[in-house]
Point group: C2
Amino acid sequence: MKTITIEECAKHLTEAENVLILMHKSPDGDAIGCAYALAYALRKCGKQAMPVCSDPIPAKYGYITNALTVQEFAPRYIVTVDLADTQLFGDKLLPYKDRVDLCLDHHGSNTGYAKYGFVDAGAGACTQIVKQVIDSMGVVIDQTIANAIFTGIVTDTGCFKYSNAAADSYRMAAEMMEYGAESFMINRLMFDTKSRQRLAIEKMALDSMKFYRDGQIAVIFLTKEMFARSGAEDSDTEGIAGLPRQIEGVKIGITVKEKEDGNYKISMRSAGDADVSAVCANFGGGGHKAAAGCTVSGTLEEVERAVVTAAGEAI
Amino acid sequence: MKTITIEECAKHLTEAENVLILMHKSPDGDAIGCAYALAYALRKCGKQAMPVCSDPIPAKYGYITNALTVQEFAPRYIVTVDLADTQLFGDKLLPYKDRVDLCLDHHGSNTGYAKYGFVDAGAGACTQIVKQVIDSMGVVIDQTIANAIFTGIVTDTGCFKYSNAAADSYRMAAEMMEYGAESFMINRLMFDTKSRQRLAIEKMALDSMKFYRDGQIAVIFLTKEMFARSGAEDSDTEGIAGLPRQIEGVKIGITVKEKEDGNYKISMRSAGDADVSAVCANFGGGGHKAAAGCTVSGTLEEVERAVVTAAGEAI
């Protein structure tokens, strides 16, 4: 992948036609914010542009997605946003994995699968990069684009609570508010709204919490049985992985979630210096230093023992 | 109370000597941030200055308070910060209630008890006002002052989640980070750290949740028995009052907390248009439109019925 500047990314995009914008599977606020902000901006330039994802976009992001009409076209230019690795494309996007023209990302672990790319691991959210590209394209940001960019910033920085929230994250959020971003609605929807099902499964998860290594490791569990009993769906568990790390004295918080196929999805969060991205790499996963994930097979007891042992070595 | 400008407030302060800075009882991050930021700034001008409060300052604010040495002097100038009403002085500060020279506040309900004052109900946090006064005094903000001001902004805006968080709140937070504010440490300490006792009492509070009016009102309870069983102290319950409002469909969230004297402290949070400050005024309380409180006497059942009825009329 050839690294190019923000201005060059903008130039490539203004010269492109029929642009397909790829998001990672299980899309989050930053991926959705990036893809839709860019799609709206390209359409403002008179282009055909569509965001695509292997998974459905959760309904709560409707304030970002609803204004975009469906366009059908033969893609001539492929962009990925917030997408570190082709393994995160999902089945639907796999046909594009060797065809990516441009990659805009903020993961240091980006595998460089595109022709051209701009990767800034210092950006709290990938929408902070997309915003600069949109500015450089000369597109005036409207309320919908502002909402999309604001959403990426607040979701990827955990409402500014994660260490990746820098002064420019705050300033860009302020700028988006001046472009009309509905900050109160978005923050409330993303961080301060729980379904009753979420309330129920969160209580079960808290009840399941176990401590290891003198309280330096906390583990919670989300089993298929808990989902059935609470009526919660996957989208009801967003952010739950942050709970074990909240407890005083915890250095690594681990969430063990039983998948449909019987394997376990592990989410790790570091409160301090431990690099959970390295811990998860032992199991073929990855992510950021303070927030990473992987998938592990085995019985629940085996999986728990394996990840707690690996985490313990990182403390 | 004569309203004066930020610049006049700064002038009064630079001409004052032996300044006592009063905080409200049960001090929160904004009150503490204001009082200490102003004390440090006045000392940078070579003055004697001390913050005072009827209640102890919670230990977790040590990163703000520890650097201030104790000064003993006969007060010649009395300032209040973030203090709407002399009823919030507490016993220790009562002797000063008719002697306040200057009041810096952001409560629209300020009763105007001081000689001079600057009240801006549009400021998300009172530290945003104190910051402007400090600038106007010509004091250069250092890391400790930046930490104090940042703390006020994030605690009073609920980490930017409340509707009082405006673009200038975000910008001032960014500016404080550039002056060295330890944003990650502060946000983690204020919003992302729970003692095990807090975890225990939070689970009990969630288990106690009751819904009224088709789920538009949610009530949680904090009884003396729960405090005893969890080992939690008052300071472990900060922010718990925000939990009932989080549930989807809830318009008013109510927290009923049993006090030592057998009365009940009510905290109300509005998710929408309902003005809970007006609801609490029925019981002799007050606050902001979206966050208010009062104290009610009676049996738990009577209190619950009274506040739920009053809240229901406000929806």
